[in-house]
């Protein structure tokens, strides 16, 4: 088993997307709590104490999402208090919190996903579909930063010439439009060189193959098998209705059947699998390193 940043990109993607996917289609509070805990834990494991600002943002988002629902939705039978002649209910509050947990945990999962899936990894994933698509993606990954750098350079050059006036909005806007238009010309001009370079190296000669530096190793197989096992277990439990939760008009919690417990266990393991894999690798590495 490898950590997600070391393993095959396909396995990492399956693992993260299945953990996020279940949380997005289920309003069970336990599942959502597990998802949120697992996602935050994985983010912390990867980034340490850094990223304080994004944590603050996610906390605020959670609070806003959780509080908006009881203020606009007045369903439910348990009235907590009356605000502006409108009842605020416990059911609506809990539903809001569940929805907020679903959204915030999904955001945490995708944060980690975008950190893990750098350009070359995404390329490996989508390149399987078509080598041509892979090439287009690879070029796009290169061109976007290239353009923004060139735009910055053009703006600086104009400032150095004393040509770019940053007075009123209209002039700034006009200046930016002009920079953008020359940027397009520049892109086309450079596109010709790139196209020449591609043609010179035989692009379009025949059927392309795709080369990649990623392999599928035994550790990847282990991680994939575990992911699929836990995902399957959680799905069965979910499909049988063992985890269904009713919020309106009155709260009905799912019963504690063995199937429901199995579902919680499976999802809990799935949600913490990324963190566990990371921890396992740290442990294994410190063990290996002690032998060096």
């Amino acid at each position: 088993m490898y950590s997600l940043s070391e393993c095959n990109p396909a396995v990492a993607a399956v693992c993260l997307l299945s953990a996020a996917g279940i949380a997005m289609f289920c309003m069970n509070p336990v599942i959502l709590a597990l998802s949120l805990a697992g996602a935050v834990c994985f983010f912390l494991v990867r980034n340490g104490a850094g990223g304080g600002k994004s944590h603050l943002f996610f906390c605020l988002l959670f609070a806003v999402l959780a509080l908006v629902n009881p203020l606009v939705s007045h369903n439910g039978v348990t009235v907590l208090f009356v605000l502006n002649h409108r009842p605020v209910t416990l059911e609506a509050l809990l539903y809001g919190m569940a929805a907020a947990a679903a959204v915030v945990s999904a955001l945490y999962w995708f944060r980690s996903f975008s950190q893990l899936m750098t350009g070359d990894r995404l390329l490996y994933l989508f390149g399987r579909l078509s080598p041509r698509l892979a090439l287009v993606l690879s070029m796009a990954f290169r061109f976007v930063p290239l353009f923004s750098r060139q735009a910055k350079k053009i703006r600086q050059a104009q400032r150095a010439l004393g040509r770019l006036r940053e007075g009123n909005i209209a002039e700034t806007f006009r200046g930016n439009v002009r920079v953008f238009s020359i940027l397009l010309t520049w892109a086309l001009e450079n596109g010709i060189v790139t196209a020449d370079s591609m043609a010179a190296r035989g692009y379009g000669v025949g059927r392309r193959t795709q080369f990649s530096v990623f392999r599928f190793r035994r550790g990847d197989a282990v991680l994939l098998a575990l992911t699929l096992l836990f995902f399957g277990g959680a799905c069965v439990s979910l499909a049988c209705g063992a985890l269904d939760m009713v919020y309106y008009p009155a709260l009905v919690f799912p019963e504690c059947t063995p199937l429901a417990l199995a579902g919680y266990l499976c999802y809990g393991l799935l949600a913490f699998l990324p963190s566990l894999a990371q921890g396992w690798e740290v442990l294994r590495w410190s063990c290996l390193r002690s032998r060096i």
Binding site: A160, V193, T209
Partner: protein, 558 residues
């Protein structure tokens, strides 16, 4: 054995007046290293592109091109892509993908090779070119030299039989350029790879090449070993000025066998002076010839300061290291000042600080006595031309560009006539540089800052550029030039400064500056060191040699 044969090749572009190539006949043997020389517009690129079928320009062509005995048009597509490798000028634009490994694999993917073969070839190529350390890096983070090396490696991975290179080092700094040329030499020696290279920077290429082809206005002028060709160029200063310093000196003084490198130049000069001494029965050894007793000129600035840095510190971001570390430097009014130094020594950053684009966190910068913060852009005080001159163009024709900037063409010290209806991007490097200069001059700055203005210019264009700078200087302008080009600095500067680790470590007039440096100096100075004092340009060296000959007895000379 002839690998490449060109027979009676003529070519003209559609809607162009004359012919780009006229009746060119030449051939290249397997394993030969051939340099293609000629001024901008002499048809070098056209010839190279016609040899590579995928890049052949559209137009009217007559004559035959054979590669390994087969006409280029009849080669199968994959064989044509594989057999002929082509490396272009622009390091950035000729790379296709975002990662180094993918760039290396790109050509092999196109040929449809299986994964295992690609893996092996990419691995062995990466280790041969020494790019294992940055194998997984993103292409955008590489230096210019690394990008160009990657472009070469990703062509070589396809195992071509002939390698064509169109001015591959013109966008590189001198050290990266030497490395690149050394790599080409290694490929040529290790694999007997056939190399056909067009280049402006001939100082290092000429000694390596077996043969040089000289093109002029589309006609093949010469095709022979450099030692035989160069003496025949004696009456063509516009071609000769691109040759190595030793060769120019030899050609000017009528050497029997033309020296090509600094070592050969020194040996030859020693013999030449020795013979002169014998002829004039002079007892002094040739080493004593032409010693000059002039004291070094004052290293201090001559007039009131135009630009003054005092203990300036700068870094790009709080967490990054300092780029300028206590820079102190004064440029006098009316001076032409050159800033030299290696990559990352802070030259361009210093220019950015002086232009008010970057803000130093400590120290004072004054422009004509005014603090830099009080200098407003566009008030006729200071203007800068960036290194990538394309970034100053915003319009679709030269005419609009000039009108937009408010340039009166008659006020310029050079002529842009004939270019008015062209797109700025379609101009040659030298013409782009002039148009950029015209736009900067529109603000009529008293202090002009130029960043690498001679990058990618051929030797003749460079001479013209120096003339223009001199005229601007004569009109009272102060010019500061950041450059890697020591020959350029030796020819035009009033004073030079060497930057090292964010500070100016030595400042002086070129003659003192370069003769006190041992490594960072011109080829002419390295060649004449010990024979003559304070000679930094080939022109000086020729004048001193002729002076010796005229005076008869060299020791009485100066």
């Amino acid at each position: 054995m002839e690998l490449l044969t060109v027979e009676n090749l003529s070519f003209s572009y559609p809607q162009a007046g004359g012919r780009a190539l006229e009746n060119v006949t030449c051939s290249v043997r397997r394993g030969e290293f051939v340099a293609l020389c000629g001024a901008t517009g002499s048809g070098k690129s056209t010839l190279l592109r016609l040899l590579k079928r995928e890049l052949a320009p559209l137009g009217e062509r007559s004559g035959r091109i054979l590669i390994g005995g087969t006409p280029v048009e009849e080669l199968p597509a994959s064989a044509s892509a594989r057999t002929v490798g082509f490396v272009m000028q622009q390091p950035e634009q000729q790379l296709v993908t975002d990662r180094v490994w993918h760039e290396l694999a790109f050509g092999l993917e196109n040929l449809g090779l299986p994964q295992a073969v690609i893996a092996r070839r990419v691995a062995e190529t990466a280790s041969y070119f020494g790019i294992e350390d940055w194998y997984e890096r993103e292409v955008s983070g590489l230096s210019g030299g690394q990008k160009q090396l990657l472009a070469l490696a990703s062509v070589m991975v396809m195992q071509p039989e002939i390698l064509l290179l169109d001015e591959p080092t013109s966008q590189l700094d001198p050290i990266a350029a030497s490395d690149f040329i050394a790599t080409l030499r290694r490929l040529n020696q290790d694999f007997s790879l056939t190399v056909l290279l067009s280049e402006h920077r001939l100082e290092e290429v000429i000694p390596l090449c077996d043969r040089m082809l000289v093109l002029e206005k589309g006609r093949l002028l010469e095709s022979d070993a450099p030692r035989r060709v160069i003496p025949r160029l004696g009456d063509r200063p516009e071609l000769l000025c691109a040759m190595p310093a030793a060769a120019r000196l030899g050609a000017a003084l009528g050497a029997q066998t033309c020296p090509l490198t600094v070592r050969e130049g020194r040996e030859w000069l020693g013999q030449w002076l020795g013979q002169l001494c014998r002829e004039t029965s002079c007892e002094q050894p040739p080493q004593a010839c032409g010693k000059e007793q002039s004291s070094p000129q004052g290293a201090g600035p001559a007039g009131p300061p135009a630009l003054c840095f005092r203990d300036v510190w700068f870094r790009y971001e709080r967490s990054l290291p300092d780029v300028l570390r206590g820079l102190s430097l004064t440029v006098a009014q009316g001076e032409l000042f050159c800033i030299l130094g290696g990559n990352g020594s802070g030259k361009t950053t210093a220019l950015g600080v002086a232009a008010g684009l970057l803000r130093a966190y400590s120290g004072s910068i004054r422009v004509f006595g005014k603090r830099i913060r009080e200098v407003r852009p566009g008030d006729g005080c200071v203007a800068a031309l960036p290194q990538d001159v394309q970034t100053v163009f915003l319009r679709n024709t030269v005419r609009e560009e000039l009108e937009d900037a408010g340039v009166r063409p008659e006020s310029l010290p050079f002529d842009l006539g004939g270019l008015y209806d062209r797109h700025p991007y379609d101009l040659s490097g030298g013409e782009q540089q002039l148009l950029g200069l015209a736009k900067v001059l529109a603000a009529s700055p008293r202090l002009l800052l130029l960043d690498e203005p001679t990058k990618g210019l051929d030797a003749d264009t460079k001479r013209g550029f120096i003339r223009i700078l001199r005229e601007l200087q004569a009109s009272g302008m102060t010019v500061v030039v950041v450059t890697h080009d020591v020959d350029f600095a030796a020819q035009c500067a009033d004073r030079c400064a060497l930057f090292f680790r964010g500070a100016a470590v030595s400042v002086g007039a070129p003659a003192d500056f370069f003769s006190e440096n041992r490594f960072y100096t011109t080829a002419a100075n390295r060649m004449t060191r010990g024979y003559f004092d304070r000679v930094v340009t080939v022109k000086d060296a020729i004048a001193r040699c002729r002076g010796c000959r005229r005076e008869g007895a060299p020791h009485e000379g100066n």
